[in-house]
């Protein structure tokens, strides 16, 4: 993380607790970190470590149970739904594992969608910005196609264009290669690197070390906490050993 720049995202002791019936699950337990303008951060960790929960909170799809979250220096953890929607629309661009394009809309309309939720943008300006975004991901030639007519890689490029079109402060990518083969995965990662080189701030969740290598730095998560890489590896090994012991115990019994 680039500490010389002003923090775009500043998390202090962030917590998230889920309550299901009488069971209390701590998805995030005191997470601290900063993301500065122009950073490319990868969040790594095994399944259930809290990385997707963290990304949901960063993207303001979810609210923290405790702690502070400052976006561009403004506290956002206690905003109401409409204010959060406003910030999502202007400051955040999402790239999902499952692309999440709307099947009823064409490529153009999918990319245009975030702009339709803004006021003060003329139709002409919307058109120009959509074209520009699609040019950047090299999908301008598929403008009239529907998502179902595209390959997975193409769909994800359209999703990236949709994330870019609103000129957000940060791109949040949740396992962006999870639904792609390795060739298309590499292509998408290449596209993100290209965007980063152009100045984009990116925060990506992945469990694949190959892809986290594209980022400037990685945050490792385990059991809702940020740990360093060494600790993460040790904890993983301990976990694996415990599972193996348990399995052996079960067989001997």
């Amino acid at each position: 993380m680039n500490e010389t720049n002003r923090s775009l995202i500043h998390l202090v002791d962030l917590k998230k607790v889920f309550f299901t019936d009488e069971v209390e699950t701590h998805a995030l337990s005191g997470v601290h970190f900063d993301i500065a303008q122009g950073d490319y951060v990868a969040i790594e960790g095994p399944s259930g470590s809290g990385k997707s929960t963290l990304l949901s909170i960063l993207g303001m799809l979810d609210t923290p149970s405790g702690g502070r979250y400052l976006l561009n220096g403004e506290p956002v953890e206690s905003l109401d739904n409409a204010q959060r929607a406003h910030i999502r629309n202007r400051e955040i661009g999402f790239i999902f594992q499952a692309f999440n394009l709307i099947g009823d809309l064409t490529v153009f309309e999918n990319v245009e969608l975030p702009l339709t939720y803004r006021s003060g943008i003329s139709k002409q300006e919307r058109k120009e910005r959509v074209h520009e975004a699609l040019e950047r991901v090299r999908m301008a030639h598929r403008i009239r196609h529907y998502p179902a007519q595209l390959s997975g890689g193409q769909q994800q490029r359209v999703a990236v264009a949709r994330a870019l079109v609103g000129k957000p402060s940060i791109l949040l990518a949740d396992e962006p290669t999870g639904n792609l083969d390795s060739k298309n995965g590499e292509a998408v990662m290449g596209l993100l690197s290209e965007l980063h080189s152009g100045g984009a701030t990116i925060c990506m969740v992945t469990h694949d070390p190959r892809y986290s290598a594209y980022a400037d730095c990685s945050i490792h998560m385990f059991d809702g906490r940020i740990v360093d890489e060494e600790t993460l590896n040790r904890l993983r090994e301990e976990e694996d050993r415990r599972i193996a012991d348990h399995a052996r115990g079960g067989r001997t019994a």
Partner: protein, 802 residues
Amino acid sequence: MDKLLYDLRYAVRTLAQTPGVACTVILTLGLGLGLVAAVFTIFNAYIFRADEVRDPHELFAVRRQPTATAEAEPFTQDAYDALLRETEIFTDAIALGPQIDRWIDGQRMEGPLVTGNFFQVLGVSAALGRTFTAADDLAGNRVLVLGQRAWQRYFAGDPGIIGRTVRVNEMTFDVLGVMPAGFRGLGIDPPDFWMPLALAGDLGRGADGALPVDIVGRLRPGMSHGEALARLDAWDLRRSAETTGARPAASLVIEPRQGKVPLSVDTMLTFLPLFFAFGLILLIGCANVANLLFARGVARQREIGIRFAIGASRRRIVRQLLTESLVLALAAAAFGFGVSRLVLASVVNYVTSAMTGLGDIRLALMPADWRVVLFLVAAAIASTLCFALVPALRATRVELAQAMHGAVTHDVRPGRARNMLIALQVTGSVLLLICAAIFLRSSWRAASNDPGVRIADTVFLGIGNEQARDSILDAVRADPEVAALAAMSPAALRALAGTAAGKSAATYRWVSPEYFDILGVAVMRGRLFTPDERGAPVAVVSERMAQALWPGRDPLGQELRLEPDPNEAEGAPVAPAQMPRFTGAAVVIGVARDVAGFRVGGATLLAGPDVYLQATTETAGTSLALRVRGDPAIVVRGLRERLATIDPAIGEIVPLQELARMEATLLEIPFWLTLALGALALVLTLSGLFSVLTYLVAQRTREIGVRIALGATRYRISALALAQSIRPVGIGLLLGGGLAAALGALLLATPAAELIGQTVRLFDPLAYGASLLLVIAACAGASLVPALRAGQVDPVTALRRD
């Protein structure tokens, strides 16, 4: 605007991509909207729609206010002339004489007598030919103008009608013109014709200026209502002093006259049940659509989640969902417009052609104007809020983080809202079907009622003009289609019947001896009147009367005293003034079988009487009962034509069978109406129930697979699915039955309770039971298919489902 257009464009595209859903919604809502629009079209035609005349807001009628003790006295033709001459309240005014009915070229038609300036003042021209001028309104000018309906119906729209001579009873008239379709002549229903007021004398209505008329004028520009009334009052005071030397008996009122029914509490009470019954279908349709949208909302959670993720606010997404629904509702309104026209055309056609038992019903297809369109649009918007708002709010209550990962918040169990909607639908269906069953049973009862008199070949003939009695009797006696005739007082008269033991209320009727044979009233004991007993104090009593006055004794030879009943005015049948009242003693010579009679519109005809006194066909005020040969309806038509040449104002000639069936026929109208609505409601309810259960079973397929894997039998799975409908249907049955009973109790608490109670059995247990059973069976049938389908789920496939 840009966003609205975007929402509209997207809405149209989304709906085009799901044509099944769109069609279902449009059909369901369109049906409901169409039915409500049909009622509104009638309401509009009578309440809002002014007649198609020039500047109807300028037209005001003058009349006298009725007082607490006296009826409003009508204006005369002389008063009309004086008002025109002596005041400047109106720029011009017209006089409408009484409505008369005449046989015109063999068809019975109705219309008013009007002044020659009638059409000019109203500012309407003829569609064909010309209207009256002042020159036409002179005695001896036998001309008429036809209404559009009469021209179409009785003259087949013959364009050569202008200048043709038509026979009006025994006279001939020239047809001057035909009025356009929308013109009603300031009435509610369009007349068949208009004739000049100057012909009142020729038409037997008097020509001495005392003819009662309605005065309608065009208020002078700039004159306020209050000023006009003040001037009218001053004129009335002056005129009254000059003509009678006294003050007017009642004050004058001046009120708008635009050819529509004033909007009053009574009119609202008339239309309210119709709006309620038809509105129920719309409500049930809305419930169906809401259920569909609930399901669609679940299916669209991912899309909605994406929209949230890219920054759409909840209000924005709700607006978009409502736009989609509004597009559907507006399309449904357009379809509903067609439905309303079709429904009205069918009803008008049915009432005018199939319900001949009610006579010539002057009903035309009500036009649909901008108000109907506006009503439909407003109803579509209201319906949208009704069926779409809650589903839209629910659909936008998503767990964003989950939705982004493709996990939707499954709403698989029938939630409270869904149960409530099904219960509401069942309630409406039960209510309407119970009403239909009550009307059906009442109609059957009325149709199967034995009046106790011979009706198949009996015809009633009223004699309105005593001067023509002899000629009419001669004509009837000479008519080969009349086998026999008898005299009878048109209504039973009330009296106090006294014996040595005491007095009791009784009714008596003047009849000639042939009456008993023609009406098939058997004499059980004693004998009938003989011709030489004419005027003698002898009487035939009914069995009931004999038993009441002389229990256990022989009534024959007993003396019966009849004296005026001081309570006769209260609810007494109206008998002609010239009908003699009997006071004195009479000796009982016979006992006749009791006659139950039959009910028509709240009155019981031919019931009783308790005492028969002898009359002859020459007795003034009596009507005739005829036994006819052949089809009574055909005989009646011939008699009307022939007798109208003797007396243009010949009274009613009606087959008794027609009268006897009238109550049943009248009850058939609400029966068919509620049956059609109830059937529609049930079909919509069943389709809703079926869809919801099918959807729930589909959503729970994985759970069903797990249950089967855990050992549940197919029977138990089916029962589980079936159980989901039991609660809402049960609640609907209870509410529907309860609501019907509550409505019944409410009706019995109104002043019309007695009449209602005699006409329909509001708490008929068979009607309730049969309706509830029908709904239970239908709902069970609709639930059974998805329930059985649930039992057929393949656990292996179900567990492999994503």
